[in-house]
């Protein structure tokens, strides 16, 4: 009897071992699958993009089809709009994050704000573009760089709120209490002590927000539109790197596609560089 039982138990055990091995092998395959796509996309971006990088790319304007040119106006437009929207969105985001972390952490308004904020964080960015179109562009009857700046700022704000609140919550309460005990008013405790302690985390959040809007195309499609020429006037339609890439990549012209790859390369380098920088800063704080 015991030999049969032993054999049955051994067979069952071996089957469980086999299932286990299969599952672990499949999970290894899934990991490799994910990494494969990452490396392939990055490799193709470098391979196809680096050929288009030259001095001309950074100094000349977007050309007509089949003519020499560069994407200088697109780079400048993107740079300008990203900088401005970060300057506008970051203070609002930090103040709202301060409200959520310092003023009303558990109230119903705070919970509602957190809920809405997380939804806006993952909401389709094209809907933000539609909103800014309805509010700004159709009111003033023209596409403009300012509309693009507003759309990007509306994307920056939820990201900064989330990271600021998380970073402020990590500050030890003893630090705040010591400041209060010394007689400091609340706003001074927040700005001079708490925010300063969470400084690197908040900066990381801003860097991540910049990385996110640097690559955003959809909100700019019908707010800042596009512009073939150099302009620093934000009241006019403004070229931006993602929208220019969109227009050039979908075209059949060889030189436009080459410039689009160069643009993709530049954006990828900038975005990944910012992300890695943000990660390095977080790690140093530990």
């Amino acid at each position: 009897m015991s030999a049969v039982l032993h054999d049955a138990r051994l067979a069952k055990f071996n089957q469980r071992k086999r299932v286990n091995r299969l599952a672990l092998l499949l999970s290894l395959a899934a990991m490799a699958f994910g990494l494969f796509w990452l490396f392939w996309i990055l490799w193709e971006t470098v391979r196809l993009g680096i050929g288009g990088i030259s001095v001309a790319t950074f100094t000349q304007m977007t050309p007509a089809p089949n003519e020499e040119g560069g994407i200088a106006n697109a780079i400048y437009g993107s740079f300008l709009m990203v900088m401005l929207s970060t300057f506008i969105g970051t203070p609002i985001g930090i103040m709202a994050g301060i409200y959520l972390a310092e003023y009303n952490t558990k109230g119903w308004l705070a919970s509602l704000t957190r809920f809405v904020n997380d939804i806006l964080l993952s909401a389709p960015s094209i809907v933000i573009g539609l909103f800014v179109y309805a509010v700004v562009v159709s009111r003033f009857h023209s596409f403009s760089g300012w509309a693009g700046v507003m759309a990007l700022a509306l994307i920056v704000i939820p990201v900064v709120i989330r990271t600021t609140e998380n970073m402020l919550q990590l500050v030890p309460p003893g630090l705040r209490e010591a400041a209060y005990a010394l007689g400091a008013p609340k706003w001074k405790v927040i700005t001079r002590i708490t925010l300063r302690a969470a400084r690197s985390g908040v900066v990381t959040g801003v860097l991540l927000a910049v990385a996110r809007i640097a690559g955003e195309t959809a909100p700019l499609l019908f707010t800042a539109l596009n512009n073939q020429f150099w302009t620093s006037n934000l009241g006019q339609p403004m070229a931006s790197l993602p929208v220019t890439i969109f227009k050039f990549a979908m075209s059949p012209y060889e030189n436009w596609q080459q410039l689009a790859w160069a643009g993709v390369f530049i954006i990828t380098v900038a975005v990944l560089g910012l992300n890695i920088l943000a990660r390095v800063l977080t790690r140093k704080k530990d």
């Binding site: 071992k17 286990n20 599952a23 672990l24 999970s27 395959a29 899934a30 990991m31 699958f33 994910g34 990494l35 990452l38 996309i41 990055l42 193709e44 196809l48 985001g93 103040m95 709202a96 301060i98 409200y99 959520l100 310092e102 003023y103 705070a110 704000t113 809920f115 809405v116 939804i119 806006l120 909401a123 389709p124 094209i126 809907v127 909103f131 309805a134 704000i157 939820p158 008013p185 609340k186 706003w187 640097a214 955003e216 959809a218 499609l221 019908f222 539109l225 993602p242 890439i245 969109f246 990549a249 979908m250 689009a260 790859w261 993709v264 954006i267 990828t268 990944l272 992300n275 990660r279």
Partner: protein, 321 residues
């Protein structure tokens, strides 16, 4: 005769504190105002189309700017079909990645691998779009679509799915690229949620002789059910709203002739991206905004569900199951 109390030279006004508090409150209210503003402006913009078509807009597949007749079925189908395919591929892969990162990988490998997967999320969607159109599409056409078509074109139901021009664009391409884009989101939520499982539960199972897979399947997964669903909903929400990657490879085709996966189609986001900038004021623009309203509504529901599920997991931490 008592002396009056001494004047306090350090008395400070309460004003800066109040102003600061109001500023913080105003910033928080701005977020709420933004959501309401988006809803209101979308409804106002879409009103001509809403009043003309009502809910029938959602089931009509006519899209004719020349005759000024619009219906949203093609785009809604495209959005839902691509997101469904994306989830079909992304959920098992993300589960495998989360399983690897929490149970299998050696400690020194966890951080770099986790960072690599998160970098996949950081790549801008326009890069995915361009890569998808110019690199992935042709390869998909030659190595996947054409063989599939020659294999299955005679089979009754599968044949309908693989008919259509095998040129590398269409619902299948868009679905695969979306899957790659949402894998990092679902995988990192799953990983965070797996790591929250009490070690004691897992070690009890190991102590009883369970294999690693059995611990994950029978202990970790039931414990983190709500979190896993929340992560999947989050991925779905992202997939529904993704614009550029889908626009490049979906083919911008406003008709719904067949159920083929290889057929070019249109999604709500790609219709908006392609047509909105030049849409004339009036019914065309209003119909596009109506589509945007539908999309916003769907993603709002999906993302709310995701938040509720994830917060339910937080509430159950440490509770008896």
């Amino acid at each position: 005769m008592t002396n009056p109390p001494p004047v306090n030279p350090f008395k400070r006004s309460r004003l800066p504190d109040r102003v600061f508090g109001w500023a913080a409150l105003a910033a928080a209210l701005l977020t709420l105002g933004l959501l309401i503003g988006i809803l209101v402006s979308l409804v106002i913009g879409a009103w001509p189309a809403i009043s003309k078509y009502g809910l029938g807009f959602l089931t009509s597949s006519v899209w004719d700017p020349v005759q000024n007749e619009y219906g949203g079925l093609v785009m809604i189908y495209g959005t839902l079909a691509t997101s469904f395919i994306a989830l079909l591929i992304a959920v098992p892969v993300s589960f495998g990645i989360a399983l690897f990162l929490t149970e299998l990988s050696p400690a020194w490998l966890k951080r770099p691998l986790g960072t690599a997967i998160e970098l996949l999320a950081a790549v801008p969607s326009i890069v995915y779009g361009m890569w998808g159109l110019l690199v992935f599409g042709p390869i998909l056409a030659t190595y996947v679509q054409q063989p599939l078509q020659s294999l299955f074109s005679e089979v009754p139901y599968l044949g309908a799915l693989v008919s259509g021009p095998p040129v590398g664009i269409g619902i299948l391409s868009a679905g695969i690229i979306l899957a790659i884009m949402i894998i990092p989101f679902i995988a990192s939520v799953m990983r965070d949620v797996f790591e929250v499982t009490p070690v004691l539960l897992k070690e009890s199972a190991y102590g009883l002789g369970a294999t690693t897979w059995e611990v994950v399947y029978k202990v970790v997964l039931p414990y983190t059910k709500a979190g896993v669903m929340g992560g999947i909903m989050l991925g779905l929400g992202r997939a529904l709203g993704e614009t550029m990657a889908v626009t490049f490879v979906i083919g911008n085709f406003n008709q719904l002739d067949s159920l083929s996966l290889f057929q070019a189609a249109n999604s709500i986001t790609s219709a908006l991206a392609n047509e909105f900038a030049e849409a004339a004021d009036g019914l065309h623009q209003a119909s596009l905004i109506y589509l945007g309203l539908v999309l916003f509504f769907i993603t709002f529901v999906v993302l709310s569900l995701s938040k509720l599920l994830l917060s339910q997991l937080q509430k159950n931490e440490g509770a008896k199951t």
